[in-house]
Symmetry: C2
Subunit: 456 residues, 2 copies
């Protein structure tokens, strides 16, 4: 994975976000000349005239018809909550929720988390339209294929540049999936892809904030909206993805067109999907896995004097926080991941809570871990050496972590993870029903019972 | 204005949008192996577990609270229509409508059309919250300032690369304006700017399709949503604009930080706003103006044998369509602009209708116009020579077109334009009331009467 060449430029950048926010929130009302004040009214008058003048244009009618499909506001379920909301909000909120714990699926070739955008959009749409489970699975496979294939054509440059590739490709995948669910023909599907292409979402700078999880949610809603607009005749460029000033050339400077289309319809990118046993970015997983393995071999955390960790430099670039203060920050600390691996033998959401991150014993152990970048190692590997208080040295080399493409989680392990997440929210009975309905999704007449079981 | 260096790459690009749309719409249901089918269910199960598990997270609560502000769905007016919709849809639809005729305002330094994103978001929000006209004008000036300043920091590279700068900066301007209207403090305003920064909208490839007008609308809705989410405690990076993997460095490779902040609070970018007398992109305006001037000097269209037009190469790059078939395409044809200038002495929305674009006399005149690129001319100029059937040669050089920054439209001319747009939709009485309310916006207690007069 290439190194981002603009990282150094940040040192030249003034704190613009803060400067502009201070200005907007504190500048006095009418703190300008009469000429500025008059120009504001000219701007407003001209804008009103333009908006009124075009009000009956077919584009407004098409967009309005699409927006009206989002009412009334009780169309779709929020998973794990009692509330039902409009399907656009459901797509957004379920997309946020599914990514918040950094526990969702990962397309290993591109680091895309494809279910967030795609499943969030189609479940909401299917609940409203009454689509069958078969149609939902078809849309899921195809939507994920589109997002990941486009990602393959731009990875790694697009990701290195700073795009959160899950959101930036996700809107297009969601649009494809929703277009399929709406049974749009090829021409209207192309329009849906095109409208979605104008909305790439997500910056890596947001990692560690709530906005990271906003990306798949916003992509889900954008894709759903694009498909609905296309279904009502809203037009876009039929070359929106590939044109010189289209999506791919605008958001990536290195492209491999063949990767997008090779073996289309024969190989499906969902086959490269992986699932996380640990609730954080995949780059920390080999390190955590190594610590868990040592614990399972009998090592107790109290015996540890210090830890020597060797990992690819990318691991430290992405997750090098040494002193996290909040749970979310803990997810970007390979030190924290190792510490909870040693202490708990697990790294689920609980181990990334504010409480655990601030525990004295965990902080102490974090501080005794020294990580060294070593680009001779693969990003998927980690080399962990523990120096014990009694002088023993214990070593483990993890070539591929559990949950990686080479060492997938079993169905049983996936079910355990599901139970850990769902039982505390919905209880045993509903969790068991919901799990069973998920496994049999392709044969369900509709998603309604599944959505009902997923509500609290 | 620099030339986009990637234009040639389009020749290598396969027709991806069409290939993928064909695939998504026609691939048979369950057209894959059992292993793929099983992986789809694993993906879905894992996604449901993640979404349920995080359902009660504060981020979901904050986003849900923001989404619930969009109900019930009769909060805000569609200008020029009878319908009221939720404020997010109103922001989207008024933003679309105001840009559809390519007749809205233009910040001449950056080619941003700032009112589309900014005014569309705040009028919808103000109608719901009952904000005063004074507050709306303050938000308008400040939101436009933010969008245009950020644009100044990235122009022209960002635009050259293919971003429709109106949408890509508009979400941030709209977020700033809505944050102001919601009276957010500096910290929450920064969060709003950050959430918006993750949603740059708009590709130049969409020019000539309905999706061009979608860009300011989607930006308006994205900015409004960002401000509402921030107001409910949704967090983003406080360096989202300037960081190495933040907005500006991701969407532009050349940046001028100083341009963003110079004379902040002293000079207001709305002072650089201009208004179009012609319903098309500004680059054609000098050419149209020249043709209108020749007509006003007595030239009749029937006398024209041929026309020699010299313009900057950018004009032909952006608006070089020689044989438009639809009204929207006519807006990207300098030939059509000149033809209607000669025939009608005007280039309003009527002159860019499908009907006029397809008129035989107009097509004939278009075909007799020869345009030559000449980069010794400024982009704001045009040199028009008419060869008459009787052998006369008539010449006009337009240094700055009417409506440009150097030769602004008068208030009276703006009012005529407003009437031309609004009277056919709302009738004389409402149009007059609406116009008067626009001019007195700063002194209105609320925007409710104005919105009522703007409804059909």
């Amino acid at each position: 994975m290439a190194h981002n060449t603009v990282v150094s430029a940040i040192h030249d950048a003034p704190p613009l976000t803060q400067i502009l926010a201070d200005f907007v929130s504190s500048h006095p009302s009418r703190g300008w000349t009469d000429a500025v004040e008059h120009e504001a009214h000219r701007t407003f008058l001209n804008w009103v005239g333009c908006a009124v003048g075009a009000a009956m244009h077919p584009a407004v009618s098409a967009a309005l018809a699409a927006m009206q499909e989002f009412a009334p506001p009780d169309q779709a379920s929020l998973l794990g909550r009692g509330t039902r909301v409009d399907m656009g909000s459901a797509a957004l909120l379920n997309g946020i929720s599914s990514h918040l714990f950094d526990f969702d699926d990962t397309h290993w070739k591109t680091l895309i988390h494809p279910a967030g955008p795609v499943a969030s959009s189609i479940l909401a749409l299917a609940e409203k339209t009454g689509a069958s489970g078969r149609e939902v699975i078809d849309a899921l496979v195809l939507g994920i294929d589109i997002a990941c294939r486009i990602g393959c054509g731009m990875y790694p440059e697009h990701y290195d540049r700073g795009w959160h590739i899950t959101g930036s490709t996700g809107a297009i995948g969601a649009a494809a999936a929703c277009a399929r669910l709406l049974k749009l023909d090829a021409r209207h599907t192309a329009m849906a892809l095109g409208i979605a292409a104008s909305q790439p979402i997500g910056l890596r700078e947001q990692f560690g904030t709530m906005t990271k999880a906003f990306h798949p949610g916003a992509a889900a809603r954008a894709g759903l909206t694009a498909a609905l607009m296309a279904s009502h005749g809203y037009t876009s460029s039929p070359k929106a993805l590939e044109a010189a000033r289209g999506y791919m050339q605008v958001v990536s400077s290195r492209l491999d067109w063949d990767k997008v289309t090779e073996e289309l319809g024969q190989r499906f990118e969902i086959s490269s999907n992986t699932y996380k046993p640990f609730a954080c970015g995949v780059v920390i997983h080999p390190s955590i896995d190594g610590c868990v393995q040592l614990r399972e071999a009998g090592l107790r955390a109290e015996e540890i004097e210090s830890v020597e960790l060797r990992v690819h430099s990318l691991v430290l670039e992405l997750t090098g926080k040494t002193s996290p203060k909040k749970g979310l920050e803990g997810k970007f600390s390979v030190y924290h991941g190792c510490a909870v691996g040693f202490v708990f033998g697990a790294a689920g959401e609980t181990e990334f809570s504010d409480e655990v991150v601030n525990r004295a014993d965990i902080a102490s152990l974090r501080n005794r871990i020294r990580a060294t970048p070593d680009d001779d190692l693969d990003e998927t590997s980690a080399d962990v050496t523990v120096v014990c208080k009694d002088g023993r040295r214990l070593h483990v080399f993890v070539e591929h972590a559990i949950g990686s493409y080479k060492l997938p989680m079993s169905d049983q392990h996936l079910e355990s993870k599901f139970d850990d997440l769902v039982v505390p929210i919905l209880g045993f009975g509903k969790a068991a029903s919901l799990k069973s309905l998920c496994w049999s999704l392709a044969s369900l007449n509709s998603v309604h019972e599944l959505c009902e079981k997923a509500r609290n």
